[in-house]
């Protein structure tokens, strides 16, 4: 492979890994910080992607939208729409044990997929939405590398915000809730409120990831999401990287996306008639990887580390 195409490949790889890192940090906010089980990541992701697409694409007779708004508005919309859905789900399941939340999130992801598939007027159904604008069109940033920079900037931003939140009293309360609920309540904190905030924040971040994806990929269709695989990959990334640790989430995203891409390269060597089998084989390998991690190193590569005190000691 010549250098230029290797570089192009690397840029594309890192861009995807970056988007997954955003998703993994979103999941970390829910699962790593507070132990809330969400397996509807693909749903929040899709809501973000479609919201941003509808807000930013030019007018089209086929579906609603075409509002032609700028990229930034699209991303804000993506984040808010996903947060709103997170709020509804979080409120319903707030007082139930985590298995219910898991089932409810799987349900919401499925509903969202059905909705996108069937409501042509809004999403153009299975035909999908094409021509989603890349950010900064017409500027020097309008290159794959430029887009990578945008994604990296968002990864850094999300990381920074989450680290601050986690180190602040807010994060301290979340940790306290995870350790001992009655004692946290006895310390005057509303457990339900903090939990819900974490869930909504996580959902918002996933929506942001969806928005980034839409603009990077330029085309959305219900099939493009492979809902379960999307959700599943993010889970494997977080568990492998180390849940409770944002650096772990980022590392996990890069490593697992690397493994996933490598398996693609290898299975691509198989004759084309085995294409579907090859795809299945890849999922199988990732599935086995997850089980191995769960059995042998459930804390992941970078285990959770408590944040440093932010107060200045005298």
């Amino acid at each position: 492979m010549e250098l230029a195409s290797l570089f192009a490949y690397l840029v594309s790889f890192l861009t995807f890994a970056g988007i997954y890192a955003v998703l993994a940090m979103g999941l970390n906010t829910q699962w790593g910080f507070t132990g809330q089980f969400n397996i509807g990541i693909a749903g929040f992701f899709a809501v973000g992607a479609y919201t941003s697409a509808i807000l930013t694409t030019p007018e089209s007779p086929a579906y609603l939208g075409g509002l032609g708004m700028p990229f930034a508005v699209g991303l804000v919309g993506a984040t808010l729409a996903s947060a709103l859905i997170g709020l509804v789900i979080g409120r319903i399941t707030a007082k139930l044990r985590t298995d219910y939340l898991a089932i409810a999130t799987i349900g919401i992801a499925e509903m969202i997929r059905l909705f996108i598939k069937n409501e042509d007027w809004l999403t153009n159904g299975v035909r999908g939405i094409a021509g989603i604008e890349r950010p900064f069109a017409g500027t020097p940033l309008d290159t794959p590398f430029g887009y990578l920079l945008v994604v990296v900037a968002f990864v850094v931003l999300v990381y920074f915000l989450l680290e601050r939140a986690y180190a602040s009293p807010w994060g301290r309360v979340l940790r306290a809730i995870r350790e001992n609920e009655p004692a946290t309540a006895a310390a005057g904190k509303s457990i339900a409120r903090f939990r819900l905030q974490a869930f909504v924040l996580g959902a918002a971040i996933m929506g942001l990831g969806g928005g980034l994806y839409a603009h990077f990929f330029g085309f959305l269709s219900p099939e493009a999401f492979m809902p379960l695989y999307g959700t599943f990959l993010v889970w494997v990334m977080l568990i492998a990287g180390g849940s409770g640790n944002n650096r772990g989430a980022i590392l996990g995203a890069v490593v697992v996306w690397g493994v996933w891409t490598l398996t693609e390269l290898t299975t691509d060597l198989l004759p084309t008639e085995y294409a579907t089998q090859a795809a299945a084989l890849r999922v199988l390998l990732i599935g086995v990887l997850l089980q191995v991690i769960l059995v042998t190193r459930p804390q992941g590569i970078l285990p959770e580390k408590p944040p440093k005190l932010i107060a200045r000691k005298k």
Binding site: G35, I39, M111, G287
Partner: protein, 289 residues
Amino acid sequence: MNDIIQILIYGMVLGSVLSMGAIGVSMIFGILRFAHFAHGDFMTLGAYIGLTFIAVMGLSPWFALPAAMIGMAVVAVVIDQLLYRRIRRTQPVILLISSFGMALILRSLIQLIWGSENQTYASGIQFPWRLDVLGGLRIKPDHVWIVLISLGLVAGVHLFLTRTRMGKAMRAMSDNMDLALVSGIPAERVIIVTWIIGGALAAAAGVFLGIDTRLHPVMGWTTLLPVFAAAILGGIGRPYGAIVGGMIIGISMEMSTLFISAAYKPAVAFAIMVIMLIFRPQGIFKGTL
């Protein structure tokens, strides 16, 4: 009127399928305390095991059913012993993640072994029986068999749970795990039997689904949500509740096609589940959650 009865019959067929799955989910939850996310794929695998018996041995789907049930029971026990047993001592939520991963492993295995194309058990169209009541009802024999065999299996599970020592031990463990241990009930053996029953019933659900429609690697996964909805509706951890829940969800899903697009059938199951979670999270029959 005619339409409604026709749809009611479809609803009962779907309800039978869901009940078979939901009983397993409910029993596994009662004893192992986690929602088993690979259960839909247990159904799929059961259906495909049935397919192999039909293709290789030339059995009719009805005779392949017991074979598929036995095969799936074995697979379920092997999965438990190889994987779930190792992480059982950690928090139940680790089992939840693991079962989610297992769902994908099973699905990709199915794709590898049987391919991802749609398949059917038997080619050709089955001629329905025509009944000259209510202006001519048409009933497929397959549907009658599905409902009848489900009833038979439910009765079997009932007899097992109420008449055998092992069945009672399962209920005892679901009631009060600590007291069961103190009484000398061998927990590991009860867990294995739970998987045998859960796996066998999931296979039955899969084979029914295959007979009624077609086989596809995601057939079980797309049914998982209604199955959970049925289990929650009946009260998780309550196998009898699961049957009632399955029927209510199945019939509601089919009935909904009178009013909204058939594409949204799963949404009906989801809506019922959410309403249940808001107003009566313990289910109709006071489950263990």
